[in-house]
């Protein structure tokens, strides 16, 4: 037997549990896809989608990565990482939210990347503030950025 039998005996892999988790993960994946077809309001859709993803991730972490019976030192490092990750998420996002009022399409006109020549003169590239830009008479040759084509939120 290998000298790391302590590792083997430590978490006797019970295969049956793995298949149960496998089933659960498939069901949750299907659930995520279905939820997206329900055309829920944006924020609700986001929270549900992320909650399902978190459940799936914790299933994989707890059973497949044997985090359930792990030592506290590993929990310590993971806890530290989660704290720093939360900081990395929250602060830049608060900044993005709070400086929203200062953010504006360029005062000196936002020039969309098109063929330089003819598109310039006839299209008054008024800064597309928040509504879809007015359709120009003749669509510019290259495809407009996807963002501008479809309706906003």
């Amino acid at each position: 037997m290998t000298s790391s039998n302590k590792a083997a005996a430590h978490h006797a892999p019970d295969v049956k549990m793995y298949f149960i988790i496998f089933g659960a993960l498939l069901v949750l994946t299907a659930a995520t896809v279905l939820v997206s077809y329900l055309e829920l309001p944006k924020m609700l859709g986001i929270t549900i989608g992320l909650m399902i993803a978190t459940v799936k991730a914790s299933l994989v972490a707890a059973f497949f990565m044997h985090l359930k019976g792990e030592r506290t030192l590993i929990y310590g490092f993971l806890g530290l990482t989660v704290f720093f990750m939360a900081v990395l998420f929250l602060l830049p996002i608060t900044d993005a939210v709070e400086t929203e009022k200062n953010r504006q399409p360029m005062a000196v006109g936002s020039v969309l990347p098109q063929a330089a020549g003819e598109a310039h003169h006839e299209e008054a590239a008024t800064p597309a503030a928040h509504e879809a830009p007015a359709e120009t008479k003749k669509p510019a040759k290259s495809k407009k950025p996807a963002g501008a084509k479809k309706s906003a939120h």
Partner: protein
């Protein structure tokens, strides 16, 4: 007023300059005091406890709290600085912008190595601008179709402001990050492309002051300077009228 720069802080030519200088002097006073005290104690320790034959070292230990007294003093000073100085002054200077009705509003667009200043003119409304129309005669790209732009005035590397009322500058940049820095007014704000950031100051002295760029913006970052002319209100009106309204060559 240019030219009377010395080695210390430049003269205070705006309302909150005094407030900022108060903070700088106070903090430097505290720093010198702390440094002098520590140095005296440090030199005393070096002399008193230098290695002398036959005199063994003796270990001494104190409770955690007693050992943290210097830190608590520094923390106390810092808390006072934050509560009584930093928070109120910061909210006055950076977080509140004076109402545009009673202040002189200007748009400054920074670009690689020049400041384009755009005044709304008498109707206090900015004409629409469009990058496609930017050229030598029309640095701000004013759109002729928009009548609000008829009386707008555009100057490059010159900012003319009246005394007596606050000036609100809407700062943005065409290409890279610049930073509007007026030493005498103690004003500094990065001009971020894609953002229009309000900066305000109220001059207290008339005369000519200097604008510098405080954020590395390319090879000519050091020669990207401009001048601020603070006029008395009458002088300012005369200057504004003298500027022929920005005509748009068809």
């Amino acid at each position: 007023m240019n030219g009377n720069y010395g080695w210390g802080l430049p003269i205070q030519a705006s309302t909150f300059a005094k407030e900022i200088d108060l903070g700088i002097y106070a903090i430097h006073g505290i720093m010198f005091a702390i440094f002098i005290l520590w140095s005296v104690f440090f030199v005393y320790l070096l002399v008193r406890y230098r290695a002398r034959p036959g005199v063994p070292s003796e270990h001494w230990e104190t409770g955690t709290l007693q050992s943290m007294i210097p830190d608590l003093i520094v923390l106390g000073i810092e808390i006072c600085l934050i509560l009584f100085y930093a928070l109120p002054a910061w909210s006055r200077i950076k977080m509140t912008v004076p109402p545009e009705g009673k202040s002189n509003v200007v748009e400054i667009v920074a670009e690689q190595f020049a400041w384009t200043v755009h005044y709304p003119g008498a109707d206090a409304k900015f004409g629409r601008s469009n990058a496609a129309l930017v050229d030598a005669q029309n640095p701000a790209g004013l759109d002729a179709a928009d009548d609000a732009g008829k009386d707008d005035v555009v100057t490059v590397n010159e900012l003319h402001i009246p005394l007596g009322k606050p000036t609100v500058v809407y700062l943005s940049s065409k290409d890279v990050i610049h930073s509007l820095f007026i030493p005498e007014f103690r004003v500094k704000q990065d001009a971020m492309p894609g953002m229009k950031i309000p900066v305000w100051f109220e001059p207290t002295l008339t005369g000519k002051f200097e604008i510098g760029c405080a954020q590395l913006c390319g090879i000519a970052h050091s020669i990207m300077r401009a001048d601020v002319f603070v006029h008395t209100p009458e002088e300012y009106e005369k200057w504004l009228a003298a500027q022929h309204p920005q005509t748009q060559p068809y």
